[in-house]
Structure formats: structure tokens, C-alpha cells
């Protein structure tokens, strides 16, 4: 084996080693940062991954939104038609948050069965929109209020 070849082989070996290490780290990081998407029915069926951030999706149940008059705290029910889950949130709700609207909440389920959200995104507008715009909007949790009755 010539010195050049040997050097090249070592180099390739080092790169392979480094890339494998990076892959292992990446997979671990991925596992830590995965958020499962669940519906209220999944919450009832108790099929929740424990101790994890989850994304809860559904519609804001009618007549369930209640605000604390002195702070930004708010609670509301999220329903998928079959079951409801209470969500508690402290912060600014997206522009389009309202009853009957689709929402996604990021957070975790506490012992009392209330979903503690640290982020709430409203979903779906009421009419068709170009995908790019939809995404831009939804990225920021700002879906648009589509044409309201004139």
C-alpha cells in the first residue's frame, strides 16, 4: 500500500466515522423532538405517548371559550366530534381563533386531564387559497378569515 493510498483510506475512514456519529446524534435528536399528532379521541383512548410534547388537533368546541378577565389565560375545549379535551393556554391566540374553527395546540396533558398548551395555531380557512400562501399563513398561525358574508 502506497503512502498516498493509505492516507486516502484513513481519510475516507475518518469521514465515514464522522458521518456515522452525526447520524446517530441526529436520530437521537429526532426522537427527542418528535411531536405526535393526536385527536381528542386518542386522548380518551389513552393511546398517548407518555411524557411527550404532543400536537392536539380538532375544532374549538362551541361555547367553551372562557377568558380570565385579568390576564391572558384562556381555556377552551377541543373536539373532534366524538370527544372533547379541555385546553388551557396563556398568551395571544391567533387572529382567527374562534369557536368552530380548527386549531392545533402544542403542549402536554397534565394529571388532571387538561391539555397545557404553550402554543396554539389556528387552522383552515373557509375557502380555497393557493398552497404557498396557506403555508405562509399557517406557519405563523395566522390563517385568514376568508370571505365573510358581505
Amino acid at each position: 500500500m502506497t503512502p498516498t493510498r493509505k492516507k486516502r483510506l484513513t481519510l475516507v475512514g475518518l469521514i465515514v466515522l464522522g458521518v456515522s456519529a452525526a447520524t446517530v446524534v441526529a436520530i437521537t435528536a429526532l426522537q427527542d423532538n418528535m411531536m405526535f399528532f393526536v385527536t381528542p379521541s386518542d386522548v380518551y383512548a389513552q393511546t398517548l405517548p407518555a411524557d411527550r410534547q404532543i400536537r392536539l388537533g380538532g375544532l374549538v368546541a362551541d361555547g367553551t371559550v372562557s377568558r380570565d378577565p385579568d390576564s391572558l389565560a384562556v381555556t377552551f375545549g377541543v373536539t373532534d366530534g366524538a370527544h372533547d379535551v379541555m385546553v388551557s393556554f396563556n398568551g395571544i391566540l391567533p387572529d382567527l381563533f374562534r369557536e368552530g374553527q380548527g386549531v392545533i395546540a402544542h403542549g402536554f396533558l397534565d394529571d388532571s386531564g387538561t391539555f397545557q398548551a404553550h402554543e396554539v395555531l389556528a387552522r383552515h380557512d373557509e375557502t380555497y387559497m393557493p398552497p404557498e400562501v396557506m403555508r405562509a399563513l399557517e406557519k405563523a398561525g395566522h390563517p385568514t378569515e376568508a370571505n365573510m358574508p358581505l
Partner: protein, 179 residues
């Protein structure tokens, strides 16, 4: 040689994944329509042309039908209207209009202008019944079979491809109902 083929192999794997993604894109809506495969909730609502008449989903059990959610404010409903026309003519099952969050005057003017191919309309101006039905937007189209079970839900306007897909499903539902 194998080494040189490696990028191609990786790329092929990526393609498989993307094809899968494309095939299942339909099913990956965020709020999985919880009612698909479940019976239509019993909804009783007044008519559009005939406010005194009430229509109920319970009366419709026995044959397949279509529910189409629309509103005069909804631009995409205009876009899908030619296909609604065709559904009304070709589907051979009742086509129920679900007029959502609209005003009677606007809705009637709209129908006057674009044509009314629906069998009849139920009106839900407040949008309360729509929540039971699981409506997230307009237009939406539901296919309900003769047992009153929601078989399919399409979100967004109907285009040529969707129309064909819907027709295929409708024919299937009719065949089931007849057998």
C-alpha cells in the same frame, strides 16, 4: 462500480418515500375527518327557497346522497359550480346544498346568477349545525350511503379529477344500495 451507484440507490430510496408521501397526502389532513365512516349526525334545518319547510338528514336514509357545503361568499364554490351542475345531472342521487354562514338574499341572488342544480338546500346561517357535521370550510362535499353513513369527504373545490373520483364512488354507493 457499486460505489458509483450509491447516490443512485439513495435517490431511489428517497423517491419511494416521496411516492408514498404523495399517495397518502390525501389522508394526512390535520383534523382527520372524524365522521367519515360514521353516521351523519341528525341535522334538521330550514330550506333556502322555502324557509317554512324543514329538512332533516333522518328523512334521507334509504338512498345515497351528496351534501355540498357552499356559500355565496365563497369564491371557490363558483369555481366548482360547473361540476356541481354535472353532479346534479349525472349523479342520479339527491344533491343536498348546505348553505353555510350566508345571507338568504345573497344566496338566492347567487343561485339566480349561476344556476341551481341542487335538489334542495338546507340553510345554516349561524354555522352551528356545520360543527356537528364537521365542516371546516367551503366548499366541501360529503358522500353519504343508503345507511346514512358518511363514506367520503372532499375538502376544497371539485375539479375534473375530483369529479371523476366522486362519480366513481357514487356509482359504487348506488350499486351497494341496490344490491
Amino acid at each position: 462500480m457499486i460505489r458509483m451507484l450509491l447516490p443512485l440507490i439513495v435517490f431511489a430510496g428517497l423517491l419511494v418515500l416521496l411516492i408514498f408521501g404523495l399517495r397518502t397526502a390525501d389522508q394526512r389532513e390535520i383534523v382527520q375527518s372524524p365522521l367519515v365512516g360514521k353516521p351523519v349526525p341528525e341535522i334538521t334545518l330550514p330550506g333556502l327557497n322555502d324557509p317554512e319547510t324543514t329538512y332533516s338528514t333522518a328523512e334521507l336514509i334509504g338512498e345515497p346522497y351528496i351534501i355540498n357545503v357552499w356559500g355565496s361568499w365563497c369564491w371557490a364554490c363558483r369555481e366548482e359550480h360547473p361540476y356541481i351542475d354535472r353532479l346534479g345531472r349525472e349523479a342520479g342521487v339527491p344533491l343536498v346544498g348546505f348553505n353555510w354562514k350566508d345571507e338568504r338574499e345573497d344566496a338566492l341572488r347567487w343561485l339566480n346568477r349561476f344556476g341551481d342544480s341542487w335538489s334542495f338546500h338546507m340553510v345554516d346561517f349561524e354555522g352551528r349545525a356545520a360543527i356537528d357535521l364537521g365542516v371546516y370550510g367551503a366548499p366541501e362535499t360529503y358522500l353519504v350511503d343508503h345507511r346514512g353513513v358518511i363514506q367520503h369527504k372532499h375538502i376544497g373545490p371539485i375539479d375534473a379529477t375530483v369529479f371523476e373520483d366522486l362519480m366513481r364512488r357514487i356509482v359504487q354507493m348506488r350499486a351497494e344500495a341496490d344490491s
